[in-house]
């Protein structure tokens, strides 16, 4: 059951990611990315990371990607006019190289990674565990990220405000 679920959602994630790269229109790409994120959220659940799965949907799909869609709608960004003109080099070697890279990756991952299997439900990193680690061991990084967010807000406001003239 685990493997079937994994394969289904991995397939969805990969299909959406390919769609992201292939599609001409930015809004289609954005929604494909939302699809990838949704599929990854399910895979996080399979890995027993409940809180991260929820955060993935709330933060990534519900906030960051909405921002992207919002900007695309605001700028009314159309399809890419200029087709990417691949060189003869890319035309001939592109697909074989991709296959070679993925093959190499597969080889290294299969042989280099720890040999273990993951059973659903065996271990769960609950929201409580995450919260405890976040506010004890990782308190300083947590506080620093809040400063980072503040800086980001200020930066965004400064960049996007109307010029006073």
């Amino acid at each position: 059951m685990d493997a079937i679920l994994f394969l289904i959602f991995a397939a969805i994630a990969v299909a959406c990611a390919i769609n992201l790269v292939v599609q001409k229109h930015p809004i289609t790409s954005a929604l494909s990315l939302v699809g990838v994120m949704g599929a990854l959220a399910v895979i996080y659940l399979l890995l027993g990371a409940e809180f991260i799965a929820a955060a993935q949907l709330i933060v990534y799909a519900g906030a960051i990607m909405v921002l992207f869609v919002f900007v695309i709608m605001l700028l009314n960004a159309g399809e890419e006019k200029k087709p990417a003109r691949p060189s003869w080099f890319a035309k001939i070697l592109g697909v074989p190289l991709v296959i070679a890279v993925l093959g190499l990756l597969n080889f290294f991952v299969q042989h280099g990674s720890p040999d273990s299997t993951i059973t659903f439900g065996e271990y769960t990193g609950t929201a409580k565990d995450v919260g405890r680690a976040l506010f004890t061991t990782y308190l300083l990084p947590f506080e620093i990220t809040s400063v980072l967010i503040l800086v980001a807000i200020l930066g965004a406001v400064v960049l996007a405000r109307k010029e006073m003239d």
């Binding site: 409940e50 809180f51 949907l57 799909a61 909405v66 869609v69 919002f70 709608m73 929201a127």
Partner: protein, 397 residues
């Protein structure tokens, strides 16, 4: 296998009840608004217009299903499906009642209980922006696009105070599972004050309840925050180009969102299915008494000479009310129906509040709407969250 069968039965019942509620919520809304405006509302189809929802469904089903030629077809068709599917999904984590035993099978009156139930609801409400945004964008219509832009900006902005308002009662309960949240609100302090979140120490959550309600109005795009579909500026907002069943899907999604958010407010702040005062004081008899009273009122009005048509319809209602009163009073059914009654009563009251506000308040201006959330609601909810955290740290455990 047993689990699957029970789940299927429960899902079927919940779906049937939810659909009926959605249809009749619309009837109730029209009636209440009509009475606020000194009209009588739907009165033609069936007694007191009770068959109006059915007529509406038939009308919407038989209308021409139009797809304008200038739309982005895929997203145009996907948007209503996304909206309605997400809106209906979120009801599955709401607990309606305690564990019950029917024909020897023990089960909870809840479709499924998740460890992260509250987060799942927040996630679904966050993702449901896409339905609205896509509808507006794919319609290829300036009014729809403006409506969608407004809707997404508004929903992102109001999600912050909503999430912060949800966070403060969670500090009291120390859990994210909705079933445990309801359990944490059981019992009575001093023997008679219900330990609901809005009454529970160390800091009663009344302020965050109010913030939650205000943000909920904005999240469901209801008056006074219905800017995305402000008809005098934007025709019909994001669903201008939609007709027939696709329009009905958006309509259904809006009402389903209302029901879910009211049910969530009930669960988080109003003690879920727990009665407002202890069983020893007779809270189990209240539902029966209320329904019997309704029956009596219906009978009284049936005898009134000025309403000749109601001589036949109202006694039927009276009989129905008396039957419900009797059913709740039966000792075997009471432990199932009484919690359901309290849950439905609280949720129903909040829904009535939504309609009441719609009948009372005017619409905000767009800049007022944004300033209200960023400059007022958001700081207040943060301060309230801090206050709650401080109170919990000082006075509990």
């Amino acid at each position: 296998m047993n689990f699957f069968i029970i789940s299927l039965i429960k899902a079927g019942i919940v779906a049937a009840v939810l659909m009926t509620t959605l249809a009749y919520l619309q009837w109730v809304e029209r009636k209440v608004i009509a009475h606020i405006q000194l009209r009588i509302g739907p009165y033609r189809v069936g007694p007191h217009g009770l068959l109006q929802p059915l007529a509406d469904v038939v009308k919407l089903l038989t209308k021409e299903d139009l797809v304008p030629s200038h739309v982005n077809k895929f997203f145009y068709l996907a948007a209503p499906i996304i909206s309605v599917a997400l809106a209906l999904t979120s009801i599955s984590v709401i607990p309606f009642g305690p564990e019950i035993e029917v024909f020897g099978v023990r089960t909870y009156l809840q479709l499924t209980d998740l460890n992260i139930g509250v987060l799942v609801l927040l996630a679904i409400s966050g993702v449901s922006v896409y339905g609205v945004a896509l509808a507006g964008w794919s319609s290829n219509n300036k009014y729809a696009l403006l409506g969608a832009l407004r809707a997404s900006a508004q929903m992102i902005s109001y999600e912050l105070p909503l999430a912060l308002a949800v966070a403060s009662p969670l500090l009291l309960f120390n859990t994210l599972s909705l079933r445990e949240i309801v359990d944490a609100q059981a019992g009575y302090s001093f023997g008679f004050i219900a330990r609901w979140a809005i009454f529970q120490g160390p800091l009663p959550q009344i302020i965050s309840f109010i913030i939650f309600l205000i943000a909920a109005f904005a999240e469901t795009n209801r008056i006074p925050f219905d800017l995305p579909e402000a008809e005098n500026e934007l025709v019909a907002g994001f669903h201008t180009e939609y007709s027939s069943m696709k329009f009905a899907a958006f309509f259904m999604a809006e009402y389903a969102n209302m029901v879910t958010i009211c049910a969530l407010a009930t669960t988080l702040f109003l003690g879920g299915w727990h009665p407002p005062f202890p069983v020893e004081f007779g809270s189990n008899y209240i539902p029966s008494a209320l329904f019997a009273l309704c029956g009596a009122v219906a009978l009284y009005h049936a005898l009134h000479p000025a309403r000749p048509k109601d001589r036949f319809t109202l006694p039927v209602f009276a009989v129905v009310f008396f039957a419900i009163a009797l059913a709740i009073a039966v000792p075997a059914l009471n432990p199932i129906l009484a919690p359901l009654f309290w849950f439905a009563a609280k949720t129903g009251f909040l829904l009535f509040l939504f309609i009441w506000v719609r009948g009372t308040l005017p619409r905000f201006r767009y800049d007022q709407l944004m300033r209200f959330t960023w400059a007022f609601l958001f700081p207040v909810s943060i301060v309230h969250l801090f206050a709650t955290a401080l109170a919990v740290a000082l006075f509990t455990r």
